[in-house]
Amino acid sequence: MMTIIVVIAAILVVITASQLLKLAELRAKSKGELIYELTQEENKAQGAMLLLFFFVFMGFFAWQIFAWGDRLLPVSASEHGVATDFLMALTFWVITPVFILTNGLLFFFSYKYSYDPKRKALFFSHSNKLEMIWTIAPSLVLTVLILMGLSSWNQITTPIAEEAEHVLIELTGQQFNWTARYAGADKKLGRSHVTLIGGVNGTGVDTNDVNSKDDKLAKGEFHLPVGVPVQFVFRSLDVIHSAYFPHFRSQMNCVPGVVTQFNFVPTKTTKEMKALTNNEDFNYILLCNKICGAAHYNMQMDIIVESQQDYDNWLAEQKGI
């Protein structure tokens, strides 16, 4: 019913609009004008609207920062995240003025130089000096951003040395859940392969490997000790997934047939973060961030960051292989 009404209304609108257009054209013709020639008032009006648009646009931008600013992610809960957040802030401090200034010029020029038959446009076809300036200026800024980015990147992507103190965890993604496997006391993960999957062994751990003997499994949620580097290795059993830890500013794809790695140092316990965000329900979360099938939108796992002691207790309770 609704559909029929909408269709009829649309037809009526189209007919009316056509009539109006025809009328407008006839009127213009009778006055000896061409309907497609813009009058000077129209030009002025459009220029003014463009400038107005700029202010509305900036107002919208400011309003968003004001209204939504506190909905962004809370401060980084990982060590490297502090550095990347700083770089992110710096980048925004560079691009926001550029964004405002260039848009501003664009709309201001549009307003200022709208058509006036009494004026002549300036024939100005090139200037090597100006072009030089705006080639070099961005290059300099970019150099800074690139160098800072690359130094962070190198730090972040370097795996933790085996002898350094750390927690080793294998995260395995599959449609549509995650499994965490802790290396246990020997700090070594046992071998695993898809062909070994069967029964309760959902991720294909090689039970004959001595290194697997003390490995621990966790599903649904997993825990991390605060202040200790965590070395993750990622696997996928079926399609590509991506392990995304927004609060820790970390992400890595899980690719079937390939093992990938990432590491970070959690710096705030869940409790601390609850207090910091003023939110009793706050929880760190791991989510899947690479399209992986129908329930991709719900492939998650909770993360609890706690003191070493609590963590040790929790781990002791977890199932072995």
Binding site: F61, L106, F124, S125, N154
Partner: protein
């Protein structure tokens, strides 16, 4: 007599080899596809704005793809995939390049037609068939392809992983392969036409920037599309014949598959080797159109003609060595990641040059705000707004946290989607008189512009906030996560704007159809433009010029050129390219 008539009809309107007719065919097919893509986006925006709520349109349009007016999660992914594919390839590659390269290359360089009219026709018909197959894929069992427009295997290879990877994906691959052939044939033709068919006097430094843009676009296409074809072929083998190029160690549906040794990362490399240049295949023609429109409508020469060409060349070249920025988080060698960061951020330089040159062109101009001008200014704005966030995404250390979030969706829709769409609209408004011999209505045009720019910024600007809050893309709903609960009203706002944007396009469709048939007759050179296409008669015939093709004597941007006394050199504020250079006049392109 009547058979003669049908034959005439057939060869004039259907199997035409006239570039102008083919251009219109591309335009209309592209717009129809674009409309489908638009409807899709509105449908999935309904779901994202009001998750789980029942809608009559969803019920009406999506048949068994929904339950009680709510779309199913895997069908959501189908829609997203088809939306992305249709928008990027069908609307903005074939629709945009196909229309304007075809219309403008022969007309602006002074040729009677393309190098090969037959191949040109072939290119359109391949595109047409490919469009039909792509649309048909919506109706097969399992639904259309749903692995995202990037169709990463294994998801796209295994029907067990998602139903759309069955027949839907097969048809996607077939359609895309045909599409690639169409695009290659088209590009071949554009390149050779530009190189070989220019009229007397039309040196490369007298080409309008539109032609430079189309030329570079075609080169990008010829170099990058074949690589996608090879990826599609390998994927087809993996899917249908049991090879293992991209598949390895997979356990799915309770079974270990036979595939060993392959790597999905290989696919990503091959895909993005096309995928990134594709961004510029979409964008460059729009930038070319804008350059032309801005110069004509400000009555000023484009500032830094050579720098514009140089920056387009730099962008084209760089676009081949940055593809890895889509793969920072695939576990690639960190050093390689650094290289890609470096090359990616380099692209910012020529892009900045282009923006500043546009701004300087507007400065002290005398601007006429036709709808084409408005959309061109809109393009410069979106190019800036979307471009600056590229500095975030291109920097590998920062990409870690925003990769695959709505920040990316906001970024690329603005810098590529909106810019290209705006360029396309600018082109349609500007060359409407050339396409249809009639003028399009200005008032409706500017109404269209205002609705479009307001609502599309309204859609895509807030997405940056979502992304910075960690909201992932390609999610059917965010209600499974308490941490995204406070995003509900943002998503609603976005969806409201999306619906407004869709309705705004109806204004355009009405204006377009009405003016094409009923609009006032166009004069020969309505914008007082310098370029050659405005020296052809308004009515179309195969061959473009009666008698000889005009000779070119100067670059296309002699607007408002004054002599020593401050008077216009030839009494008018424009000097067509066909006007011989005066005694002490220098040609603008040479300096």
């Amino acid at each position: 007599m009547s058979t003669h008539h049908t034959k005439d009809f057939l060869f004039t309107y259907i199997f035409s080899t006239d570039h102008k007719m083919i251009s219109k065919q591309f335009l209309i097919t592209g717009f129809l596809m674009g409309f489908v893509g638009l409807i899709m986006s509105t449908l999935f925006r309904l779901q994202l704005g009001w998750p789980g709520e029942s809608f009559e349109v969803v019920e009406l349009l999506m048949g068994s793809w929904q339950e009680d007016g709510v779309m199913a999660p895997d069908k959501y992914l189908s829609l997203v995939t088809m939306h992305g594919t249709i928008m990027v390839f069908f609307l903005l590659t074939a629709g945009l390049s196909g229309t304007f390269s075809n219309l403008l290359i022969p007309l602006q360089i002074g040729a009677r037609d393309m190098a090969s009219g037959f191949m040109n026709m072939l290119s359109y018909w391949f595109f047409f068939i490919s469009s039909v197959i792509m649309l048909c894929s919506l109706f097969v069992e399992g639904g259309a392809a749903s692995a995202g427009w990037t169709i990463y295997p294994p998801l796209s290879a295994l029907p067990q992983a998602i139903p759309g990877s069955g027949a839907g994906m097969t048809l996607w691959l077939i359609a895309m392969s045909i599409f690639i052939v169409s695009s290659l044939i088209g590009s071949l033709n554009y390149i050779v036409t530009v190189l070989n068919m220019r009229t007397k006097g039309m040196s490369m430094t007298r080409l309008p920037l539109t032609i430079w843009a189309f030329f570079l676009t075609a080169i990008l296409g010829v170099l990058s599309f074949p690589v996608l074809l090879s990826a599609a072929l390998l994927l087809t083998f993996d899917r249908s014949f049991g090879t293992s190029f991209f598949l390895s160690d997979i356990y799915i549906g309770g079974q270990v598959l036979d595939h060993t040794g392959g790597s999905p990362i290989l696919f990503e490399h091959l895909f993005w080797f096309l995928g990134h240049p594709e961004v510029y295949i979409v964008l460059l023609p729009a930038l070319g159109i804008t350059s032309e429109v801005i110069s004509t409508m400000t009555r000023k020469p484009i500032f830094g003609y050579r720098a514009m060409i140089g920056s387009m060349m730099a962008i084209s070249f760089l676009s081949f060595i940055v593809w890895g920025h889509h793969m920072f988080l695939t576990g690639m060698n960190p050093f390689l990641g650094s290289v890609f960061t470096f090359t990616t951020l380099l692209i910012a330089i020529p892009s900045a040059v282009k923006v500043f040159n546009y701004l300087t062109t507007l400065w002290k101009g005398n601007i006429k705000f036709t709808p084409a001008t408005l959309f061109s200014i809109g393009l410069v704005s979106t190019f800036i707004t979307g471009g600056v966030t590229g500095l975030v995404l291109g920097n590998s250390a920062l990409d870690i946290n925003v990769h695959d979030t709505y920040f990316v969706i906001g970024h690329f829709h603005i810098v590529m989607g909106l810019s290209a769409i705006f360029g396309m609209f600018a082109g349609v408004y500007h060359w409407f008189p050339k396409l249809f011999g009639r003028m399009i209505n200005n008032k409706l045009g500017s109404l269209h512009f205002w609705i479009t720019i307001v609502s599309s910024y309204g859609v895509f600007f807030p997405m940056h906030f979502l992304g910075l809050a960690g909201v992932p893309r390609r999610y059917y709903t965010f209600s499974e996560f308490p941490m995204f609960e406070n995003m509900v009203d943002i998503n609603e706002l976005i969806s409201v704007f999306a619906i407004a944007a869709m309705i705004g396009q109806l204004v355009f469709f009405f204006n377009f159809v009405y003016s094409a048939f009923r609009g006032p007759k166009a004069p020969m050179n309505p914008w007082k433009s310098n370029t050659l296409e405005w020296t052809t008669p308004v009515e179309h015939f195969h061959g473009n010029w009666y008698g000889d093709i005009p000779t070119v004597h100067r670059w296309p941007y002699d607007y408002s050129k004054v002599d020593a006394n401050g008077e216009f050199v030839y009494g008018e504020d424009f000097i067509p390219q066909t006007t011989p250079l005066g005694d002490n006049e220098k040609d603008g392109g040479e300096h």
